[in-house]
Amino acid sequence: MQLTKDEEKSLSGEFGETMASAYRILLSIGAATDAEKLVPIKWAHISGVNYNTIGDAGVEFLEEFSQNTKTAVKTTINPMGFDRGKVAATNVSQSFIEQQMKIVKSFESIGASPSFTCIPYEIFDIPPKGTVVSFAESNAAIYSNSVLGLFTNKESSLSALASSITGKAPYSGLRIEEIRHPKVTIKSNIKLQTELDYGLLGYFAGNQIKDDCVALDGISENADMIKTKSLSAAMGTSGTCGMFARKEYGLRQDVVSFDQGEMNKIRDELNTSESGDIIVLGSPQLGISELKFLTDQIRYKKFSKRCLIFCARKTYWQAEQIGLTGKIERAGSEFMCDSCACLTPLVSKADVDSVITNSVKGAYYLGHSNRVGVALKDLKTIIKEYSN
């Protein structure tokens, strides 16, 4: 990879060991993705903030890394492990809280925005199409490439961190226009209706496609954010593909079919329980449109099971202003801000055997990492079956 003189100096340690290590990360991913050079980015979104995901090794790494360094561009961060406003009411251990707060402190000290969200695209102003960014958190990278027209690779926690303090990222993969045209189309032979259907298609696509970008035939022209978000999150869970496009007409493409059989197979793999002890919503975190939908559906009813809703604090405040939170809380659900359903320490085998969720991504990580059973149902069905 061609480096400028300044980049060479940074790599050799002239601007400190942290900067050198950030450049080593960029060089390694540049080599992996065959980049010729580094390009400036406008925004970095960093994952690996929840102590449950990065552990003590991550805590130590970030403490060391954050000394004497600052972000070079706008930087937002993923959810942490619990709601900062409800520490006393949760069952999170003291040592978890201490380690988590060290992580928060490291990010604060480099000047990252304490956003604690995995849906930065619903929380912050979106830059113009074509803007180069560096987004870890796979759902955010895929959604931003596919729906918002931002240019990012599916970054890792470490590469987005390196981009945040250098302001640069390799010019490779989905940052190059030609790569953003898919070679393979997945044709859905099923009429996709709910957000769960979109999630199952996404999981299939991630599993099948080794390219950076895939075309999807059969997704509705006016699929709303709830559906495209579910699709993005599931696709990020099962593979490396970082972007979906609507079917591109006129191009010769290989076609892979998505039939009822494939859909059932994925559902059977992830749906490990008929029902659950609690309802868990928010992997990715719920945004305003989902909270509005939920409010409409749950009107005049009460959940028959405990229902946890994960969202960003800013979303909660917005929802509060337009009168949604009261209605949702009266229906018997609890909000957890700053955190997300995926690998939350709030759901563990010690407390529950199984959970009910509408998220394919949530089902995967709650099953694999939290080790609980999962009943996978779309949101309308969840409300129909578990409220009265």
């Binding site: 390694s28 993705t33 990580y365």
Partner: protein, 118 residues
């Protein structure tokens, strides 16, 4: 240790033991600790990079990683900060001859993998 299935490091690896804990993966209950791990690439969570670093600090990491496909960003950044040598885009002739248990040498500077003959 050779696998044809990609690995989601965050969800599938027990970092205290360096063992694959996903019962649906073909390496279920197999150790990658102290071995050369040969896999297509990593998939899924961006946080997998920290999982690799955790393995390293716990002394349970592979000693080198070989990707038969292009290495992905999660795996390459994780190996970079963990000082774990990584070679990717493996020649198909070599890839098709790799089996768990063989002795191989990995040279990440030359980007070469060779099978040792006894």
């Amino acid at each position: 240790m050779v696998t044809k299935q990609a690995i989601n490091f965050l969800a599938m690896v027990d970092v205290t033991k360096g063992v694959i804990k996903d019962k649906n993966h073909e390496l279920f209950e197999k150790s990658i600790n102290g071995l050369i791990l040969v896999l297509p690439n990593a998939i899924g969570s961006s946080v997998g990079a920290y999982t690799i670093y955790s393995l390293r600090l716990n002394g349970t990491s592979p000693i080198a990683v070989v990707c038969t496909n292009n290495a992905d960003i999660t795996l390459s950044s994780g190996c970079a900060i963990s000082n774990i040598p990584l070679v990717d885009k493996l020649d198909e002739m070599i890839a098709s001859n790799l089996r768990s248990g063989l002795t191989i040498s990995v040279d990440s500077d030359q980007e070469k993998v060779s099978i040792q003959t006894v």
